[in-house]
């Protein structure tokens, strides 16, 4: 395995949850993870070290003593961790997901995902496993320590499983079915939330017209035609923030004054103040809030 990424001791602390202070003590007392040093004497760690430390932290949480762990070779350590993860709780699964991600291990990653989907369903897997997982690797991003290609790799696997789940749902045709038009603003590529919402909406018995990534407003207009019963849903992760976000949402609600518009995504969650206060524009703070909205839909007759 190539060893090209380097992590500082603080990165390691964030990624493994083991305090830097403790990492130094373990290194001194037990020789766990002796890192390389820069010219100035600063510790730096490689991928292998990170994996090792993640494994150590998993076993520690399982109640292993550090002296016991120190006496194991790396392979043995890895095997013990695998044994633990088999019957694992969400938290350990997140760690295992990170390990399989770093190794680009598709089988491993898919196994965890699939087991979780069987046990807790698609939505449960997202809220209890995938969201915490992305939060963890989000931290790795901020620290600039993880290879985005590894994120590409796992994002595509997660997307695949989600699309398979969407595809398995029947297209609803009943009289209660409303049409939702789902899209991301121009230059917005982060689709995961939009796909998850697509699944939830379809499952609740409504139709979804999915326009996906980077959709200009003119394109949304064409998709809507004159169907005033349509509901719009968009998600903003990185295309707009701050005042630009407010400006975009104002434009959106001005363009489509007669449609109900749902907005969600990281930028929307962060600051409620940025969302224009208008009757037909609703902030969706998460899956629970979407479900509440869908609950109210039952009472609104379909317009088209």
């Amino acid at each position: 395995m190539g060893d090209t990424a380097t992590y500082s001791i603080l990165d390691l602390e964030r990624l493994t949850g083991v305090k830097a202070h403790t990492i130094r003590i373990w290194e001194k007392r037990y020789g766990i993870c002796a890192p390389g040093r820069s010219n100035g004497g600063t510790r730096h760690y490689g991928d292998e070290d990170l994996r090792h430390m993640l494994n150590v932290s998993i076993l520690r949480r399982k109640g292993y003593k550090i002296s016991q762990i120190a006496s194991m070779c790396r392979e043995e350590l890895g095997q013990r961790v695998l044994d633990q993860v088999r019957d694992g709780s969400g938290d350990r699964r997140v760690e295992e997901m990170i390990l399989t991600m770093i190794a680009l291990d598709e089988e491993g990653f898919r196994d965890i995902l699939q087991t979780s989907m069987v046990e807790q369903g698609v939505e449960g897997t997202f809220t209890r496993l995938i969201q915490p997982f992305f939060e963890r690797i989000g931290v790795m991003w901020l620290a600039g320590t993880i290879n985005p290609a590894q994120e590409h790799f796992v994002t595509n696997i997660i997307r695949q499983k989600l699309i398979v789940a969407i595809n398995s749902l029947e297209t609803p045709m009943g009289p209660q079915a409303h049409r939702f038009v789902l899209f991301l603003p121009e230059n917005e590529m982060h689709e995961m939330a939009l796909l998850l919402y697509s699944y939830i909406i379809k499952r609740a018995g409504h139709r979804v017209l999915y326009l996906g990534q980077s959709t200009p407003l003119g394109c949304v207009r064409h998709a809507l035609r004159d169907q005033e019963g349509d509901v719009l849903l968009t998600s903003i992760t990185s295309a707009y923030s701050g005042e630009a976000l407010t400006a975009y949402l104002n434009q959106l609600s001005g363009e489509f004054p007669t449609h109900r518009i749902l907005v969600t995504g990281l930028q929307v969650w962060q600051d409620e103040e940025l969302i224009p206060r208008q009757a037909h524009l609703m902030r969706i703070a998460g899956t629970e809030s979407l479900r509440q909205f869908l609950g109210t839909m039952q009472e609104i007759p379909q317009l088209n």
Binding site: N147, T171, M189, Y210, D226
Partner: protein, 297 residues
């Protein structure tokens, strides 16, 4: 009902019927009477377009235009449906997909596709229907004959069907298989071609590391060090001009001299000369042939 307006030229592109012929049909048989702009230029609505697509399908199947003109809208649609249900008539199935795209009708799309894959199997459906359809969509898109909403809608649906098919193939054994890394350039978004390759490779028992859209160069190198690939495969649709593409491929090839480099994409069609050590694959059939002829690993 629709705000989309088509010119007679768009109609020519979409139906394959010459503008000249359209004007004659209009005059003689009253087939589709378009509206006029205030400067007296013909324009057509979605409804007109759908009707003409149906007319064109029947016409290509030997119906006389005078007979077609006598059919009600319902009869017209009914006959077309009958023709489309012939699994060996690829052209009509491609055209029915065009209709489903224009109407943004997911159910119709599903119906055509599941019928085709039931009869031909999914791989032949890709090769004979989805791929030609997609080339057609590309042309229609370039000539501005379809609106982005239709293209977004249909691309996402095709992507969905491809991903479901990929997911349905079991993973190959961990060891001893050739590794293919599939990626798009940092600025490249068009993923359909790459997903088709993914499907064909996985179906033949190869290991695929699928990185998808917008992969930065350094990250690509890093993945290739973790899992040294037999080949790196990519599609270039619109992100780079020929010079930048040359430079990019040259750098990549030198960065990873031990692997094969396969590239494809519409943009490359016009006399593109790939740098040494890079293989240019010009059609989907050529790609399938290339993976079929691989020596044993």
């Amino acid at each position: 009902m629709s705000s989309i307006r088509y010119s007679i030229h768009d109609l020519e592109q979409l139906t394959g019927i010459k503008a000249h012929t359209l004007r004659i049909w209009e005059k003689r048989y009253g087939i589709v009477r378009p509206q006029r702009t205030c400067t007296n230029i013909r324009y057509y609505t979605d409804c007109d377009l759908k009707q003409l697509l149906n007319v064109s399908i029947l016409n290509k199947h030997g119906y006389r235009i005078s007979d077609i003109a006598r059919l009600s809208d319902l009869e017209l649609a009914d006959r077309v449906l009958n023709i489309a249900m012939n699994p060996n008539d690829y052209l009509t199935q491609v055209e029915s997909l065009v209709v489903a795209m224009i109407e943004m009708d997911e159910q119709k799309f599903d119906k055509i596709l599941s019928y085709a894959s039931m009869n031909l199997g999914f791989e032949e459906t890709i090769m004979e229907i989805i791929y030609p359809f997609f080339i057609k969509v590309g042309l229609l898109w370039q000539t501005g004959s379809i609106v982005p909403a239709q293209e977004h809608f249909i691309s996402n649906l095709i992507r969905q069907k491809l991903i479901v098919a990929i997911d349905g193939i079991p993973l190959p054994a961990r060891n001893g298989q050739r590794v293919f890394i599939l990626y798009l350039h940092e600025k490249e978004l068009h993923e359909i071609g790459l997903l088709v390759y993914y499907y064909l490779l996985k179906k033949r028992g190869h290991r695929v590391i699928y990185l998808g859209q917008q992969v930065p160069y350094q990250d690509l190198l890093k993945v290739a060090t973790i899992h040294p690939p037999y080949a790196l495969v990519s599609c270039f649709t619109s992100a780079l001009d020929a010079g930048d593409l040359q430079d990019y491929l040259h750098t990549l090839r030198n960065g990873l001299p031990g692997a094969q480099h396969w590239v494809s994409g519409l943009q490359l069609l016009q006399g593109f000369q790939p740098p040494e050590g890079v293989t240019y694959i010009d059609t989907l059939h050529a790609f399938r042939q290339a993976i079929e002829l691989l020596p044993a690993s």
